[in-house]
Structures are given as structure tokens and as C-alpha cells.
């Protein structure tokens, strides 16, 4: 990747580097349809009701869930269902230039779309007047943090025993060097032509999060959605594995099944 760094730091004209080589492989050696390595740990925090830690390529992200608990201040309570509150936050040291602590516009938007995605999967009607609070802390960032964070949050919700239609799985898809590829890393995001964060409930194929920026024609868009769905299904397998692994410690796989089927 040295050549990329050089291109970026040379003042003046920034040439777009080649992101897919003659063998169809990307700068980190992946094929166009391949996710980065993903590792999920469940139940990593003591105080939170549920928690998960995810390493997704070079992303390192923690998710914690508190609740259902009394929604405060009272005026946000909904008498028919739980409110989902989400805070997506980047640690100051998670990015190249130190990020000043505090909420910025980007994290406000991401918190909003993640909260809405989660509300699309959680059985909120079970907990009127309550709040389910989801905290996502990005410790190290390398593109795709909202998808990795939402994935971790979904596992943390299961760990907290919150009833859901099913787990949410998320991953981004994009266009680089004119091709549709799965799961952009940082350089691909910077020099690519499109990025499309995506999340669904794999069982029902309900789309709960979708954003896009860049340039896609209609055919490319359909190809992108198709690939994103494949990615989400693989992410889902990893989520289920991680939960099973965690509850195996309790010597009883039925617990996991209970958790992830809780809502029905």
C-alpha cells in the first residue's frame, strides 16, 4: 500500500490509483466479492446489559446495549412502544487526524440511521415507555464503520436478550475501477466511484438501512444490491457462530437459539 500513501501525500494532482489488478484482486488481495476478515466476541463488558466487540478488517468497534429501562427525559417516552436511542461515536485516536471529542454532524446522521434500522428489527411493542439504548464506540476506523457497528450492535442486542424479528446483518458495497465490489476498505472508499452501506434482516430480506453516494447506473445498482445481500448473509452466519460460541460456555446451545429466536 506504500504507493497509495505516496499518491495521497504528494501536493497537487492526486491521481487515482489502480484498485483492482490484472488478476481481479484488490489492494489487500481480496476478490471483488470477498468480505474482509471479521471476528466477533459476545458479552465483553460487565456493566452493559449486552455487548459485543467486532474486528472487521482494520476496524475495531465495541457495541453495548442498556435496557429496556425507563426512558428519560419523560417526554421522549412512547406509550405504545420502546424508543431506540443510539449513539455512534468515534474515539479521538480511532482516525488519522485526532478527532476532537464530542458529537459531529456525521456521527449524528449515522446514529439516526442506525437507530431506525434497529427499530425495524426489535419488537419494540413489548416495552412501552421504555428506552433501549445502543452505544457504538469506534476504537479504530478503516471504512465501513457504520455497517460493522450496526452488526456489533445487533449481536449486543441478542446478548442483552432483547426480542428481535431476527438479527440484523450489515455490509457495504461499492464501485471501484468501474466494478461493483463488496465491503470497501479506506483507500477504496477514498478513490472509488460509489459507496452503498446496506443492512437487512437476512431471514426476511427486509432492508433496514440503505444509503448511497457516488455514481451508479440502474444495472450497477441492482448488481450492488445483489452483492450486498450476499455479504449480509455471510455476516449473519458469523453473528450466529459468535453467539453460539459464547453460549456454549453455558454448556447449552438451546440458550443461543432462544436468544436469537426470542421475538417469535
Amino acid at each position: 500500500m506504500e504507493f497509495l500513501v505516496m499518491l495521497m501525500s504528494s501536493e497537487g494532482a492526486v491521481n487515482i490509483p489502480k484498485l483492482i489488478n490484472e488478476n481481479g484482486l484488490r489492494i489487500d488481495g481480496r476478490t471483488t466479492e470477498q468480505l474482509r476478515d471479521i471476528k466477533i466476541d459476545v458479552g465483553v463488558l460487565k456493566r452493559a446489559t449486552g455487548s459485543a466487540y467486532i474486528e472487521w478488517g482494520e476496524n475495531k468497534i465495541l457495541a453495548a446495549v442498556y435496557g429496556p429501562r425507563e426512558a428519560k427525559p419523560r417526554h421522549i417516552q412512547n406509550m405504545y412502544k420502546a424508543v431506540i436511542q443510539c449513539k455512534y461515536n468515534m474515539a479521538p485516536f480511532s482516525v488519522d487526524e485526532r478527532k476532537r471529542p464530542g458529537i459531529d454532524r456525521r456521527s449524528t446522521e449515522i446514529s439516526k440511521v442506525i437507530a431506525e434500522a434497529i427499530e425495524g428489527a426489535v419488537i419494540v411493542e413489548q416495552f412501552p415507555r421504555a428506552s433501549i439504548d445502543v452505544y457504538i464506540e469506534v476504537l479504530q476506523a478503516n471504512a465501513g464503520t457504520r455497517c460493522a457497528g450496526l452488526t456489533a450492535a445487533s449481536v449486543a442486542l441478542a446478548d442483552a436478550g432483547i426480542p428481535m424479528k431476527d438479527l440484523i446483518a450489515a455490509c457495504a458495497v461499492g464501485k471501484i475501477d468501474g466494478q461493483i465490489v463488496l465491503d470497501l476498505r479506506k483507500e477504496e472508499d477514498n478513490f472509488g466511484q460509489a459507496d452503498l452501506p446496506f443492512a437487512m434482516v437476512p431471514k426476511t430480506e427486509d432492508i433496514v438501512l440503505m444509503q448511497m453516494d457516488g455514481h451508479l447506473n440502474e444495472d450497477e445498482f441492482k448488481k450492488a444490491i445483489d452483492l450486498a445481500k450476499k455479504g449480509c448473509k455471510r455476516v449473519y452466519e458469523l453473528e450466529v457462530e459468535a453467539l453460539k460460541e459464547h453460549y456454549k460456555a453455558d454448556m447449552d446451545n438451546t440458550v443461543t437459539d432462544k436468544v436469537i429466536n426470542n421475538g417469535r
Partner: protein, 266 residues
């Protein structure tokens, strides 16, 4: 705008009419409300527009300053988009720092303009690597009756199309063509899903009871430049494809309306 409230009577009337593919204000699902466009109304701004869709009303003002480029884009200008949901526009809007709703609208409008390359950012450079034009798009929402995304987007596009560089103010040599370099003409459209019905340009009542929202920005070739799904409801894949297919035709007519207004003005 989760805090807006619709009575049960209205809600049920909407749901009933939808079954017959009709809407509360008698529009069909692919029909916008009346769009009014007044470019250039604010002379203290470097570009401006007053745009209404139905009763939703937004004033966009462009201010242009000079400043330093970002270190990672030394030859490109800077553009920032800001939405103020002032309490004048709705009983549920509060003064103070921008709400998450305001931030989302601003960021989606910004993405649609930026990703469609409407403005040639390289042409905003004044002295390479040192001095560039900085464009502020300020969206003042004065009456909120549904569909702020599209109203804000059209207002931004029209205001930018009428904007001129303030050479004199910054002691810069005047150019033969002082207009901001507009090279593309994107359109953004917002759809909501209520039950299984999908309709464009939601009214306040429709937006309040809607399950899901989808905003799409496309360029002259109908290529997609930006998207944003909103609300807690879900979409199926083919619902989205259907929206995209419909959207081409709807956007064509809106583009003509806007372009006409802008050309008359310029």
C-alpha cells in the same frame, strides 16, 4: 419529525383512500404537489431562491467567501450545507443547535449536489493550493408541511444556479462570466411507504404516519448519485427497483420546470 401528531381520524382516512390509490389531497401516488420557484429574491445573498412544494416553504441563500482549501484537496473549493428548522416553521421545531433531522436533511442535500458534481469544485480554486472560494448553502425552512428533503434540494439547486462570485467584495479581478460553475443538474425525490403503498412527495400527514422513506438523487442520465433510506419501516428489494423505475419519468418533468425558471432568471 417524529413529534408531529396526526389524529386517528385522519390516519384512517389516509389508509382507506390509499386502498383506492388515492391520497388525502386527491393526488395520485406519482404526483407532486404544486411547485413554486422564485429565484434571486434575496439581494444580500450571492444566490438565492424561495421554493415551495405545496405549503412547505424554504428559502435558500448562498454566501460565498474566500479561504484556504482542505489539505487533502488543495485545488478544490469548499462547499457546506446547513439546514435550520426554525420554530417559525412548525409547532414542534425548537430553537437551538440543529436537530438530528436537520442534520440528516443537510447532509443528504449536500451529498446529492456533491456526488452529482453539479458544481465543478476545481473551478473554485483561486490561487492553487492556497486560496479557494467557499460556498455556504443556508436553508431556512419557514413553513413545514411535509417533504423537506425535496424542497430543500430544489431550493439549493436553484439558488446555486443563480449564484455569482462576489469578486469586488474580496478585491479580486472580475470575470466575464461571474456565475458559479454549474455543470450538472441533479434532481432529488422522496418517497414514503405507508402499508404496502409507495408515493412521492409526502404531505405532512403522510410523512407522519409513514413506515419508511426513501430519497434518491439522480443526474441528467437518470444515474443514481445519492440515496437515503429513513424511518424504522423496511423496504423490499423490488419495491426499491420499482421506485427507481418510476422516478425517471417523475424527475424528467420536475427538471423541466426548474430549468425553465432558472434560465429565465439567468
Amino acid at each position: 419529525m417524529a413529534d408531529e401528531v396526526v389524529t386517528t381520524v385522519i390516519r384512517e382516512k389516509i389508509l382507506k383512500m390509499i386502498k383506492n390509490e388515492k391520497r388525502l389531497d386527491n393526488r395520485n401516488f406519482n404526483e407532486y404537489r404544486n411547485i413554486e420557484i422564485n429565484p434571486g429574491i434575496i439581494t444580500s445573498a450571492d444566490g438565492s431562491a424561495h421554493v415551495s412544494i405545496g405549503n412547505t416553504s424554504v428559502i435558500a441563500g448562498i454566501k460565498i467567501e474566500t479561504g484556504e482549501p482542505f489539505p487533502d484537496t488543495p485545488n478544490a473549493g469548499v462547499m457546506t450545507t446547513n439546514v435550520e428548522l426554525i420554530p417559525m416553521a412548525s409547532p414542534v421545531f425548537e430553537s437551538g443547535p440543529p436537530s438530528p433531522e436537520a442534520v440528516e436533511i443537510a447532509r443528504v442535500v449536500d451529498r446529492g449536489i456533491r456526488e452529482s458534481k453539479m458544481i465543478n469544485m476545481e473551478k473554485l480554486s483561486i490561487v492553487k493550493g492556497e486560496k479557494v472560494w467557499i460556498i455556504y448553502i443556508d436553508l431556512h425552512v419557514i413553513d413545514y408541511d411535509g417533504n423537506l428533503f425535496d424542497t430543500c434540494f430544489i431550493a439549493s439547486v436553484v439558488a446555486l444556479s443563480t449564484a455569482k462570485f462576489p469578486y469586488k467584495k474580496f478585491n479580486l479581478e472580475e470575470s466575464a462570466n461571474p456565475s458559479v460553475p454549474v455543470e450538472h443538474f441533479p434532481i432529488e425525490s422522496t418517497y414514503v411507504k405507508i402499508g404496502n403503498s409507495i408515493m412521492v412527495d409526502p404531505s405532512l400527514e403522510e410523512e407522519t404516519i409513514a413506515d419508511a422513506r426513501l430519497t434518491i438523487a439522480i443526474d441528467e442520465n437518470s444515474d443514481i448519485r445519492a440515496m437515503q433510506k429513513g424511518f424504522s419501516g423496511v423496504f423490499k428489494e423490488d419495491e426499491i427497483y420499482k421506485i427507481i423505475a418510476n422516478n425517471r419519468e417523475i424527475n424528467r418533468s420536475i427538471r423541466e420546470i426548474i430549468k425553465g425558471k432558472v434560465e429565465v432568471f439567468r
